[in-house]
């Protein structure tokens, strides 16, 4: 069991162990939805919310249902079911209270279901043996980290629209390259805190 405090884990999950830029999870919606800061911010918020809530729910289900009955082999399928149901809930919520955001996110909102970062966060929580508060901290941190990465990326891509990108690199290729550079920049934080 890790002894690090929940707050440190939260900060670490944003900067040193950014789930997107160090583990490269959740790349598909990261690339596809980072065209505009507004959309990126919306998706980032949705992912943060879903990630926090699903790590909490999954923690409870894992330690109070699966472990006591020796059903750890069901981890993946149960986690995915929880995530899918929760995303449905968020979709209804966003559609009701922010139709603009709903249309801006479009197909990517239901796609959060299959965003590997969400499942990844829940699994890391189990592998790293966090307690409940650490899990909450990690969930929030990983979500914020993902949101930070996609907003940074969207900002860069908005700027990049005015720059002279060589034709073969236009679109996705340059986005991939920029992601790598961004990841290297984040590697500068590595070693400040260790949460593995």
């Amino acid at each position: 069991m890790s002894e690090t405090s929940a707050l440190v884990i939260l900060i670490a999950a944003i900067l040193t162990n950014n789930i997107l830029l160090t583990n490269f999870l959740g790349m598909c919606s990261f690339i596809a939805c980072s065209g505009q800061i507004r959309t990126a911010l919306g998706l980032g918020t949705a992912v943060t919310f879903v990630m926090t809530m699903t790590t909490m729910l999954n923690y409870i289900i894992y330690y109070f249902v699966l472990v006591p009955y020796g059903l750890e082999h069901l981890t993946y399928i149960v986690f995915i079911a929880v995530i899918a149901a929760f995303v449905q809930f968020v979709e209804m919520f966003v559609e009701r209270f922010s139709p603009k955001l709903y249309f801006a996110l479009g197909i990517f909102l239901p796609l959060i279901t299959v965003n590997c970062a969400i499942l990844g966060a829940s699994l890391f929580m189990i592998i790293r043996e966090y307690n409940f508060f650490q899990s909450v901290g990690f969930g929030i941190g990983a979500g914020l980290g993902w949101a930070l990465a996609i907003v940074l990326m969207a900002g860069l891509r908005q700027k990049m629209r005015y720059s002279n990108v060589p034709q073969p690199f236009e679109g996705i290729p340059i986005a991939m390259i920029v992601t790598c550079v961004l990841a290297m920049a984040f590697m500068g934080f590595a070693g400040m805190v260790a949460i593995q």
Binding site: L74, V78, A85, F89, M92, F93
Partner: protein, 364 residues
Amino acid sequence: MIYVLSVFAFSSVTVGLSALLIIAERYLVTYGVCKLDINAGEKPLEVDGGQNLLSALYANEIFIPSACGGKGTCGHCKIVVNAGGGPVLPTELPYLSRKEIRSNVRLACQVKIREDIYVHIPEELLNIKMYTSTVERVRDLTYDIKEIRLRLEDPEEITHRPGQYVQIQAPAPGEPVFRAYSISSPVYEPNIVDLIVRLVPGGIASTYLHNLNTNDTVHFTGPFGEFRLNEDPSVEVVCVGGGCGMAPMRNIIYSIYDKWPERCCRLFFGCRSTRDIFYLDEFEKLSEEHQNFQVVYALSDELEPDETWEGETGFIHLSVDKYLEPDIKRQAFLCGPPLMIEAVMRVLAEKGMKPDDIFFDDFS
């Protein structure tokens, strides 16, 4: 034991989640009553929000053509949504051209009603009604084609143009399906609708229609279809059909000779063999009464040794090529399998016809 426990744990988790979702849906997805305005105040309606536009219109007896029943796969339910429909969804894009997107055309089945919505529906579609009818007569035309006569009960009359079709509601597991069939009875018989139905192996609607008995009840919506007969009697009308594509032609021909007994009209009909021929004697009788009506049937298969046939042979577009003089003002209506339509279109273009004067109804 572990298996039972696993199954039990997983099912209880999913059941719990579903219950939560159902409760959430109950309280979150309520939009209250929204205004549905048709043609700028012509027909204001109030509908429950949260449903899609197509079903809201159906519930108010406005029948927009739809072959897939609202799944977004046929692209027939196009209407103009002027305000309140939200942006075009990715599911609609494959069915809309750029021009249609610019002029606010949407697929009614994909538009969810969230707020007051303003739509434009052509007058014609507003006249479409749901009809209840009873089967008056079923007649075998060939070994696999039946003529079914429906007598309208409610409403008692239908106003249609020759060449239009109705959508028959056929019961199916789950939801009933709608299938399009042309009206083969002429327009001057407003209280009956004749259908010509070929039995398609495994077909839901054709199996249903072939199994009907006298006095059974049939529901359908209609009339649909864009075809407009040229009202100028000097324009010749050419009808080309194949297989069971006879229904719209029969309607057109009888309606023409009721109104213009002297008008020029030709019917070309392609069959495989003599056992596929139907209505020939009926049309020959008509051509004796009306000098300017010409009927040509052609058989595409080889004759059996003991058969005799004095008409044309070969595919129907060859007969069209043989009998039509080029460069005459005419209007054409084609109905049959896609390959036949393609071949006949080519022949008609060679005869100097413009695409605007050729209408077709292919069985694809």
